[in-house]
């Protein structure tokens, strides 16, 4: 038999929680408006940068301007076959939790991308998205025969599968089998060594640190209100690492804001910029551009700007998504608390009524016994 006092206490605590979630909902709501405003103001700039990028890259193919950030897929493959390089991923998540599946969605997408080993069933090579090369680059490497030394991608495939079981299947028997185990072992030193992470948001940092990833830099306290200077800092760092040759691939993973009730993880390859994919997007553009002062000088300025813009845009997307997710999570929590209070009240009254009935029975019983 439930104790009346216990139920009363429970109702009170649920009501208190409801007050808190309601307050958090309202806070998220007002911040969300600011974040959405910031995002919407940024969208045209990003879209126009992308447009220009497309046109310039499209006509740049064929008349190779040497620029370290620009590569054709053939170059890329040739490079992969000889040198080892690391992969860098930028993961943007939140500082705080209580935002539904916001963070876990990014992490899931991040793991999918980071651990992608070219073994996915549906090849993405035909995909026309010119901002997502990472998987395409992997898929392109499938058919390549290794030349003595193992390529980093293949190395990653090996360690990612914890053995060579899957690697041999599409590398045409690169190495003879020794250890065939398909369980993934992410703590494998070789595998972890090949990956560097930059995290934005405390949640992302803890998540990946726990799993033993090598985080070269993390940003905390900026996830809700991103500033351009941080995006600039990240892009400078990334370009530095890329230019030094240590990094061969930079991919950005973040939550893309779709509407106040939906967001989805998105991934973007920042470096290298693979010109093949742009060519497809603007095959009909024949006219040449005049570059002032000249193409290389201009690209030297334009590409870094483009990368920083992309990161900043992603941060804004992520901030708006985070706040909208929190808003939804908190308003759901408030509704649930309301429902729970209703049910508890009903239960409380039932118990109270049962108690009264019981007492009356006792009194009547006692009176009857006296007669």
């Amino acid at each position: 038999m439930a104790n009346l006092q216990h139920i009363r206490r429970r109702i009170k605590s649920v009501k208190n929680i409801q007050k808190i979630t309601n307050a958090m909902d309202m806070i998220a709501r007002s911040r969300f408006n600011a974040a959405r405003e910031a995002l919407l103001s940024n969208l045209p700039y990003v879209a126009k940068t992308k447009e220009i990028m497309r046109r310039v890259m499209g006509q740049m193919r064929g008349q190779e301007y040497e620029h370290p950030f620009l590569k054709t897929r053939a170059d890329l493959i040739a490079e992969q076959q000889e040198g080892a390089g690391k992969f860098l991923f930028i993961v943007i998540a939140s500082d705080k939790g209580l935002a539904g599946s916001f963070s876990s969605n990014v992490f899931k997408a991040a793991h999918d991308t980071i651990e992608y080993d070219g073994t996915s069933e549906n090849s993405s090579l035909d995909d026309d998205d010119d901002e997502n090369f990472h998987r395409k680059n992997f898929d392109a490497l499938k058919g390549i025969k290794p030349s003595g030394k193992r390529t980093p991608k293949q190395q990653r495939q090996m360690s990612a599968t914890g053995g060579i079981a899957r690697t041999t299947s599409h590398q045409g028997g690169a190495t003879s089998s020794t250890n065939i185990s398909v369980t993934r072992e992410y703590n494998d030193a070789d595998y972890i060594d090949g990956i560097e992470l930059i995290t934005v948001g405390r949640k992302a940092t803890t998540h990946f640190r726990q799993r033993g990833y090598n985080i070269i830099k993390s940003y905390h306290g900026i996830s809700e209100r991103p500033q351009y200077k941080y995006a600039k800092e990240i892009s400078d760092l990334v370009m530095d690492r890329f230019a030094s040759g240590e990094i061969i691939d930079v991919t950005l993973i973040y939550n893309q804001f779709k509407s106040a009730i939906s967001c989805a993880p998105d991934e973007v390859t920042l470096l290298p910029i693979v010109t093949d994919d742009y060519a497809k997007a603007s095959a009909n553009l024949k006219e040449e551009y005049i570059y002032e002062p000249d193409a290389v000088t201009l690209l030297d300025k334009f590409l870094p700007r483009r990368i920083a813009t992309r990161i900043y845009g992603a941060m804004l997307h992520s901030a708006a998504s985070e706040l909208s997710s929190r808003m939804n999570a908190m308003s759901n929590a408030t509704d649930n608390a309301q429902e729970l209070v209703g049910r508890l009240n009903l239960f409380y009254n039932k118990v109270r009524q049962a108690g009264i009935t019981n007492e009356i029975n006792e009194i009547v019983g006692g009176a009857n016994a006296l007669e």
Binding site: L43, I52, Y228, E288, E292, P293, F302
Partner: protein
């Protein structure tokens, strides 16, 4: 009269300007540029300047603090770090900024060796920005 579409976007204010215009006069790192409709494809970097936009007989001014300009025969796209119409500009702030920047530049130029703490590139960029802002506003430069 033939027109060309001009779009000016900035990272934090969205589309600042969008209109069909007759002519744009702006300044790239190579010097002054006048863009008329049906201009050849061009990509260039802008420096801080007061752009003059000719449209429908009149002329308006727009401040840009540098960025990139892409020209196609039908459209001019300017990706500016910041862009302001005369109404958006705070005169007092621009004047103050001008004075500060000018002071720094002159002290540096008087004895470059003694003032290595001054970031001359930054000071000069700030001076150019303030100058362009005042120009758009039509304020005589002090």
């Amino acid at each position: 009269m033939a027109t060309i579409l001009l779009e000016v976007a900035t990272p934090d204010k969205g589309e600042v300007y969008k209109n069909d215009i007759n002519m744009l006069i702006t300044r790239s790192i190579n010097g002054e540029l006048g863009i008329l409709p049906k201009h050849a494809n061009l990509l260039t970097e802008l420096i801080p300047n007061a752009m003059r936009i000719k449209e429908g007989g009149g002329e308006t001014q727009l401040f840009v603090s540098g960025g990139f300009m892409e020209v196609t025969p039908e459209k001019i796209t300017i990706l500016a770090d910041a862009a302001e119409t005369p109404d958006d500009i705070d005169i007092e702030r621009a004047k103050d900024a001008y004075k500060r920047a000018e002071e720094r530049v002159t002290t540096y130029k008087s004895a470059p060796k003694n003032h290595e703490d001054i970031d001359i590139d930054r000071a000069e960029a700030a001076l150019a920005r303030a100058k362009a802002r005042l120009l758009v506003k039509g304020v005589p430069i002090p």
